[in-house]
């Protein structure tokens, strides 16, 4: 777990270095990577687009919350609003069905501008939120989320109020329709993998280590020369970049965006996804998102089978949330870790139990 890269001999050739790097990758990564890459061979369009595509997007928004909460100790409820802001900007600056508002900018301009503006907005949210702790951070970011929802619903000149924007589609880059299930699957998979590895990499960089230091012991960090407030705000900015990319993918997937995209239920869903998955590792939110999407997609069928009204899927999600919070406060990841520890304990009764959790 040292900060430095894996020890390598000084004169190793690029080839040997690459081999060492590849050998350092855990087997689980190869397996999951292969399954995800080959998924389009077995899964149908509905699964690729509606289940996996959506899970990757929600997982990325959950990941931006995991970055703040897991590494920074700051629970922000504004991440969905930041994603939605980027989505709105794509509709406003690019093309949509609302001709009187959309500016028809080219994609290579509106995508970076959308990410930049969303990150700037998040920096502002962060600047106000980081001076508070715990429940007050949640309240301030919730206030931002609620304000964003009501503002988009009431403002017609920019956000087109209640109806929002329809017909927002990705640019036909390289002659590919990126809303087709297979291209969209790979697009979202690529973005999700990139943000996952970025967060993993940054967690061991000076900034990531310092962020975890700020989480554990802000007073000591400041006694080591770190500007604690600046580090926390910068974490909001970075997390926003991931949320913004996810927001853009979300508007492309739905081909529309409206105030409900960042309504309070959606805001809370992100929190549920991150917590059910687990905040200890960047993979947690993706597990949480997949569980959420599967429940949301298939629980109406199950409920219908049990002769219950099929709009009760929220009941199932709520019950699932209760079970996780009650039995495993650190999410599915925590459950997995405890199972592994139990197995290890059984194998070696002398050493297994002594490990501090």
């Amino acid at each position: 777990m040292a900060v430095a890269d894996r020890p390598l001999t000084a004169q190793s050739s690029p080839g040997a270095r690459l081999t060492a790097l590849l050998q350092g990758i855990p087997h689980a990564y190869w397996a999951v990577g292969a399954i995800l890459l080959l998924m389009p061979l077995v899964a149908n369009s509905f699964f690729l687009f509606q289940v996996f595509g959506w899970a990757f997007i929600l997982g990325m928004i959950g990941l931006s919350l995991m970055f703040l909460a897991g590494y920074g100790g700051m629970v922000s409820l504004a991440q969905m609003s930041i994603a939605a802001l980027a989505g709105y900007l794509v509709a406003i600056l690019g093309d949509s069905g609302v001709e009187k508002i959309s500016l028809l900018w080219p994609w290579w301009l509106y995508v970076p501008v959308a990410i930049f503006v969303a990150a700037a907005f998040a920096t502002l949210v962060g600047a106000l939120a980081v001076r508070t702790e715990g429940i007050y951070t949640i309240m301030i970011t919730l206030a931002f989320a609620a304000a964003f929802f009501y503002f988009t619903r009431q403002n017609y000149s920019i956000f087109n109020g209640y109806s929002g924007f329809a017909n927002v589609v990705p640019p036909p880059l390289f002659g590919v329709n990126w809303r087709d299930p297979v291209p969209f699957y790979y697009l979202t998979l690529g973005c999700a993998a990139l943000s996952y590895f970025a967060v993993l990499y940054i967690s061991r960089s000076p900034f990531g280590l310092a962020l975890q230091g700020v989480r554990d012991n802000p007073r000591r960090m400041s006694a080591l020369g770190f500007n604690v407030v600046a580090h926390r705000i910068a974490a909001y900015t970075l997390a926003a970049v991931i949320a913004a990319v996810a927001g853009i993918l979300l508007v492309w997937q739905n081909a529309q965006i409206s105030p409900g995209t960042a309504g309070l239920p959606a805001v809370i869903d992100i929190l549920v996804i991150a917590i059910v998955g687990g905040l200890a590792h960047p993979v947690g939110p993706f597990i949480g998102a997949l569980i959420y999407v599967l429940l949301r997609t298939f629980s109406p069928n199950v409920l219908g089978y049990l002769a219950l009204p099929d709009d009760r899927f929220k009941l199932l999600i709520g019950l699932g949330f209760l079970v996780v919070v009650y039995w495993s406060p650190d999410g599915v990841l925590g459950l997995w870790k405890r199972l592994q520890e139990r197995r290890r304990k059984r194998r070696d009764p002398l050493v297994g139990g002594s490990e501090a959790s």
Partner: protein
């Protein structure tokens, strides 16, 4: 504007040579009705090593907290190498060469020893916001390795701090305070809870510090305190009531009455 900045520059320049390392003038700290510090005036020259003695509740740790900026004093001024830092946030004081250790170790228990020391080295240098992982050849990583050796923790380099023994945590606490280019260090009871051998190691670490690094040490163990300090300030009820050489303080009847004889022997 220009006169203001030039006065800052001249203040910095004067800070380089002639000024005192630490200068407190009439520092008072009140918590509501309780006066934790009352009109404390201390001058410590560069490279000077001072012990602050006093019973529990005398205000020693509050004094440290005011110097590092954890608390702002109710009144009075604090100068660090000639520069008025009274209203500076802690990290700005640390970047000017001030360091401290804590009475109860404040470490990052979820990180390894090397990560803790690396963070400390990073805190007082550039690239605090760097998103790039350090390479093995990173000079700061080298500095972190050297510091770990200086406090005899090289065998536990990759160990999680939560798995270190109490004594090792105290040693790490000192390593964090010596990161970068410290000019003045505040040691808050570094020997508390250490074994006799660990105390000898501690005395050795402190006496082997480069002579330009001054410090103030709070220490209940007179044996340690009087061996590593050139001068002593006695505190009682938030006031400094006596300053002098270690021998003078040791033999002072008033001090013996208040402190040495007061059930602490």
């Amino acid at each position: 504007m220009s006169t203001a900045s030039s006065s800052v520059i001249s203040e910095r320049l004067s800070a380089a040579g002639t000024a005192n390392a630490l200068e407190l003038r009439g520092v008072t700290k009140r918590f509501g009705a309780l006066a934790a510090l009352t009109d404390v005036t201390i001058t410590v020259k560069p490279g000077e090593r001072r012990a602050v003695l006093g019973s529990n509740g005398a205000g020693k740790t509050t004094l440290f907290n005011c110097v590092t900026g954890d608390f702002l004093p109710t009144s009075g001024t604090i100068r660090l190498f000639g520069e008025d830092v009274t209203n500076f946030p802690p990290h700005e004081r640390i970047r000017r060469g001030l360091r401290r250790t804590y009475q109860i170790s404040l470490l990052f228990t979820g990180l390894s020893v090397i990560d803790n020391v690396y963070l400390a080295c990073r805190g007082v240098s550039r690239g605090r916001f760097s998103l790039l992982r350090p390479r093995r050849s990173d000079p700061l990583m080298q500095a972190a390795h050297d510091l770990i050796e200086a406090v005899h923790l090289e065998d536990s380099r990759e160990t999680l701090v939560s798995e270190l023994s109490y004594g090792q945590q105290r040693q790490l606490e000192i390593a964090l305070a010596l990161a970068g280019a410290p000019r003045f260090v505040l040691f808050d009871e570094p020997a508390a809870g250490l074994s006799p051998k660990e105390r000898r190691d501690l005395v050795e670490i402190l006496t082997n510090l480069p002579s330009h690094i001054g410090y103030i040490i709070i220490e209940h163990d007179m044996d340690v305190a009087l061996r590593v300090a050139e001068s002593v300030s006695m505190m009682h009820n938030g006031r400094i009531f006596k300053e002098g050489l270690p021998q003078e303080i040791e033999n002072d009847p008033e001090v013996q009455e208040l402190y040495l004889g007061g059930g602490h022997g």
